[in-house]
Symmetry: C2
Subunit: 314 residues, 2 copies
């Protein structure tokens, strides 16, 4: 209802791409919060969503004229075949590579958005001649948090221009057993929540970031790539180190630490969920334990974006 411009796009979702023996991700800058040094990319997996737009598509809606319709089935074929030609090591780079080729191939398409949920294939220890070593044949398909990537290109006159990009991490779930409070909030006739000085804070967290220069995301050889694993390690380290007075403040500090370590970033966005457990027993028979259960709905959430300006005064 807001804009006057017509929404018009079509595309393909759940395009699963598995590429074996992609270029390993190396050249990672070490930071104090993380031991992450790279990925072997023996299995490079992504679930991609592609969406294309362009005024020339209008008659496919209004008239059922399919002349300019690249079948979404062909989009899937395009993405899969280009995965064989990709020589880089990052999902961001792959999306930028294939979306540019797509606009070059189909000149009447004027915009393309591609997003990816990367599949995290974790290495496993196998017995070797000198004790356990890292295997390179069997991988664990992780169901935990995973890296994400997003690229949007638009045609401007004869050029193809990057309109937006981001990288991220989705489905992070972290629980801190003690050292989190929530107090000092508005108290009025709608308040039934007691102040809490020590809650078992359980959060869901999605984080996304963009770079000052997107090439740093597309080409890890430039040495300024930020791995999702590193942001993840910053998040849990900050959570561990600092008492949190709210999720709002916790994500702010995670953002500050991320900019401190990675000045090549331009913006960081957070989407958090509060999934704090309900406390059933404040004391157990022996020791400092408690008993908790899943909370009933609803759940709280926060959305927040930051830039390097939020480092001022630190």
């Amino acid at each position: 209802a807001k804009g006057a411009e017509r929404i018009m796009y079509y595309g393909k979702g759940d395009v699963w791409v598995y590429r074996s023996y992609a270029k390993p991700l190396t050249n990672i800058t070490l930071i104090p919060e993380s031991g992450f040094t790279g990925r072997d990319n023996v299995l490079f997996g992504m679930n991609i969503k592609v969406s294309v737009s362009g005024e020339k598509l209008f008659t496919s809606f209004s008239e059922g004229d399919n002349t300019n319709v690249v079948a979404t089935d062909s989009m899937k074929n395009f993405i899969l075949r280009k995965a064989g030609e990709y020589e880089g090591s990052t999902a961001e780079g792959f999306l930028a590579f294939v979306s540019r080729l797509f606009l070059e191939k189909y000149p009447w398409m004027t915009g393309i958005k591609m997003s990816a949920d990367q599949v995290a294939f974790e290495t496993l220890p196998v017995p070797g001649s000198n004790g356990f070593e890292v295997g390179n044949l069997v991988y664990r398909y992780s169901q935990n948090e995973h890296p994400t990537a997003f690229v949007e290109l638009v045609r401007v006159a004869d050029d193809i221009v990057l309109a937006d990009h981001s990288a991220g991490i989705a489905d992070l779930k972290l629980v801190k057993v003690k050292g989190s409070s929530f107090a000092g909030f508005v108290r009025d006739e709608y308040t039934t929540l007691p102040e809490s000085s020590d809650r078992p804070l359980f959060i869901f967290l999605d984080i996304a970031w963009s770079y000052e220069s997107a090439e740093d995301a597309f080409d890890a050889d430039l040495g300024r790539y930020v791995a999702a694993e590193q942001i993840y390690d910053i998040a849990h380290t900050v959570f561990h180190e600092q008492h949190s007075p709210s999720i709002q403040n916790l994500i702010y500090r995670i953002g500050q630490r991320s900019f401190l370590r990675f000045p090549q970033l331009k913006e960081i966005r957070f989407e958090s969920n509060n999934r704090t457990w309900e406390t059933i027993l404040e004391e157990v028979s022996v020791g400092e334990g408690k008993v908790f259960t899943e909370p009933r709905p609803p759940y709280g959430f926060q959305g927040f974006s930051m830039t390097k300006r939020d480092l001022e005064g630190l």
Copy 2:
């Protein structure tokens, strides 16, 4: 990465509201495609998401200063208690009612968005003195498509203004057994899809619409309320009546028919998924049957918005 403005909001999701004996929905304009005449609203149910914003919230992030934080737990209490005061018959009206009261109560909040997935409680036939009649005690909690609503208010100087609104229907699933084709699309080295003259077209469909005057959505007594059930009936009727050359064209025609019946609407948006079955057997032993199975991923999708201008030349 696009805008220069900071994202900053917080709120509550999965706020389940069940209100019994709300005002019945009546005053519905009959259309040829639908027998829908109203809802008794003996059970009026919604899953609400609320999100609030305002510059005054910034220090809750930067400093962990909770002075201006209305606990999301209190937001939940606010919504639930106001459900006891609501005298209208539509989810749109409830969202407008409660979000305005919220901004009035907390003057430092400058924006609020509320969305709702309505729970469809279906009436059931029970034996009465003259055969089956419509029961008003036991209802079926439908797991099928359901109505949706959305309202956004912003504070402008001393006023509270409606910034956006929509109503809709989500999770519609329709299958047409024959009478759908898909042909004439681009054929090149990336095309492996054969042309189809008769495919078993299975679609997922979300539809949302806004009104020229939002009051028509908030107050059904004005006689211009458009029920999700009516748009649903238009969708399946158009699907039934017309051969479809693509989903693109099918949704266009559903939109045209909707504007024809309901000129009080301003915009209609569609999000469709192609979930067409895979044909396993083109012929069965006896009769014109075939055998199908669920398609493998990926799935195609379309996004499209229309206004009454799309009726021109009809």
